[in-house]
Amino acid sequence: MAEALRVVGRPVPRLDGFEKVTGRARYTVDLVVPGMAHGAILRSPVPRARILAIDASRAERMPGVVAVLTAADLRDIDPYYGQLVRDRPLIAIDEVRYAGEPVAAVAALDPATAQEALERIEVAYDELPPVLDLDAALAGGAPRVHARRPAGAPPEAEGNICFHARVARGDPEAALAGAAHTFEHTFVFPMVYHYAMEPHAVVAAADGPAVTVWTSAQHPFLVRADLARMFGRALEQVRVVVPYVGGGFGSKSYTKLEPLAVALARKAGRPVRVALSVAEACLTTRRHAARVVLRTGVDRDGRLVARVATSWLDTGAYADNGPRVTARAARRVLGGYRCPHVRSDAYAVYTNTVPAGSFRAIGAPQTIWACEVQMDLIAQALGLDPVEFRARNLGRRGEALLDGERPLDADLEAGLRRVAAAIGWGHPASPRTGRGLAVGITDAGAEPVASAIVRLHADGSASVHESSTELGQGVRTVLAQIAAEALALPVERVGVVASDTAGTPYDRSTGASRSTTVMGLAVQAACQEVRAQLAEAAAAALGAGAASLCFEAGRIRAPDGREIAYGDAVRAFFGGPGGELIGRGYVRGGGRWAPPPLFWEVGWGGAEVAVDDETGQVRVARYASLADVGIAVNPPLAEGQDEGAAMMGLGHTLFEALRYEAGQLQNGNLVDYRVPLADDLPALETGLVEDHNGPGAHGVKGMGEGAINPVAPAVTTALARACGVVVTELPLTPERVWRALRRARAQQAVSAG
């Protein structure tokens, strides 16, 4: 049923717009707390070593130094944290596991003193042989990154395997043996860095039983839970405030810098600000590098019959969100395709490198890239059009691809054909150019637990209290729209209060494209509770039945035409100048949310690329992106999410890779780590599929991650069509493409000779 929507679906200007264009928007890095000292972190220069001794006495004696924190200060707390596996100490204890790991921290009256004090801390290391990549980590007799089993480690963890996920169905080995055609390919995906422009920053105060942190965190309530557990506090004693966040993309998921900042503030006895540099943020978290081996069997009709996938994800020195990323990867490598016999194993592997965690569409870009490039290779080998080959195998709407999974809620084939048309698929391309397509689905949404409070004030304006983090995705604007729609108020009369565990109620997290959908429902429910009270208040004031009232633009009308403004109704109810109506909304698991995932986030992409044969340089001339969003609550914001995701995808497709040598990160800075720039922008077209198929308010689905997935495979396959060479390792740097071209030419020469 099509609802008559007044606010949802409109290009409402962002609520944070004025502040953000005038420089008044405050981020954690902008905060000043009275009495605040400045923190600095001493980091390990080596990838693996035993810490023999730390002498901080010279630093402690420096004028202006307030505190020096080392592992010796952690004896009365639980210093370890981590999602699932609690393996990461807030500061290295006895051993360092990657170059850049915090070893000590200083709080001083000014940043320069803190920095200088670091140089006066002497650490004696006994270097140990590190394991620096997947091969080294998986080799027999490899040193173990974690010699002792960390708390929460799953039973299958062994050696450097931190986590193992498996998805299985049918008898894939037998099916492969019986398949008409079998294919095996290996794909390699690099370590990439989020480069959220605001590096991690925390201001922590812990000079009494109460702990307050202002932090650039995506998940304030999960941070709160970790801090409470680690420092032995009750949840009510821990306050996590999240100002505007200067980009997240997963880099600020879960707990990062907060425990260190709290420990330092506790030692210092005063608030401490710890704001990382970009170079340090590079040493804090990254995306999992991956190696994916795919064996796929196809029958005579070009239908997938079996797939055996093995994915290794380099999770670095600590698990962080690696287990969840790995579980996601195990599923995503299967793509949106129907396949009767599958087995997918994914392993998170410890190495002595920067820990890897969440990054936009966790586990998906790595595996969807592998899956989709292989689909093209198979089509090519079978002489089939890649669109037709995919269409033959894509799951249909309503079809569950795996047992116990939510049936597909989108028309994958229709979207594929739409992006194909958008980039002129089937029409001749210019010389040295080629086109490619890809489709990716991800199981989005994380755990559906959220709550919201909505307050209708005595002047008829309303505030929404909820704890989604405004990372730039526009969540406050979108939730204000949902609230305005539900309350029948102009959106200008609705404000959204910034996340603060002290005043905004529980939300599990901001990630996995969940906020619009899950929190949107909580907000809508809270509005309905307000509206019911408002109806009663107005009914009493107007002397009409509550059910007969009509709500519009902040006024309530009785059947006889008499009206009352919301504010007047509120004041009449309380009989005074003030008062407010309060509504609550909860979302919890079960019910509509089963079976998982909450919804399917689907993204399609089509690319046209040109390649310079001599240099190997790839230029993406056109890119068409399409996302399945249910309904775009705010179309320009939805497009903006897609454009941003697509361009970010171009980064890991063309340039981005963290480079290690001898255990040292070589390019942890913006001079040497290249992200997409303004002049990399192709002719970019984004489309939104809106068929109200989502579980959220008005049929909305989450979005913002799906568009990153198809970029690499679409560009890679376009490149293949432009020059005949398939590159199975990212990024597609000029040199890598040039080498592939040279290899291809050499093979041609051999075969020609």
Partner: protein, 290 residues
Amino acid sequence: MLRPFEIHQPESVEAASALVGRYGDDAAFYAGGTELLLVMKEGLVRYRHLVDLKTIPALGALDYDAASGLLRIGGTVTHRALERHPTVRERFPIVAEVERLVANVRVRNVGTIGGNLCFAEPHADPGTLFLTFDAEVELVGTRGARTVPIGAFFTGAYETARQPDEVLTAVRLREGGPQTRWAYMKFGIHERPTLGVAVALTLDAERRGIEDVRIAVGCVGPVPARVPAAEALLRGAPLAEADGPLERAAQVAAEGADAVDDLHGSAEYKVEMVKVFMRRAFRAAAARFQ
């Protein structure tokens, strides 16, 4: 994080030179600071005294002498000033063109030509271009003034012929004649270029034969350098039949390139790219005669 230092504001080159002479290793000249401050922030170098050269008015001059065709660029002239200066744009268009592509507009607004040359960061553009002008660098120190050909100025990565107390007061370029065209090509995907190739091509009066050619290659190795052997292969060749010599010259240039493996790519790749871009730059210069 910059460590504490003092800043000195001399009013003459002599005073500046004397200050650095006095403080020795504790002092450095400070011009644009765009490179210096970065390495100071990282703690890679530490100076307790910075001697500001921009307080010396003479160093900011940009003079063109029409009679001699000589452009004298003061050491503290910014990239942006060069990019936008009407005389430079008219008489030395290649300089403005190259400057436009240096880093980003903010760096160009602050960074100086003297600072750029003296810092001798290998992945820089102006030095490579100036090699094809046979530019000369004026140095003034406590022991007097001297002029160094730019070819002798760069001695290694971050190393030059300048003595610690010597101020680069100016770089001098001579205008090309009506028969000379320049092209500069840079390549790479990172903030700093992977490679830069400059070509100055002088044709004979009929514009049929290559009277002279000067080619410089930068970024791939520690210092930008001319490739005389390659130039020699081209010199005197008819333009219409330059493909063969160009190919050989590119090969020679590539063989002579002192390329290193780094984040920008392997030496092998860079050597190949020297060939590609020498060809392209030469053709671009030639195309400018049309």
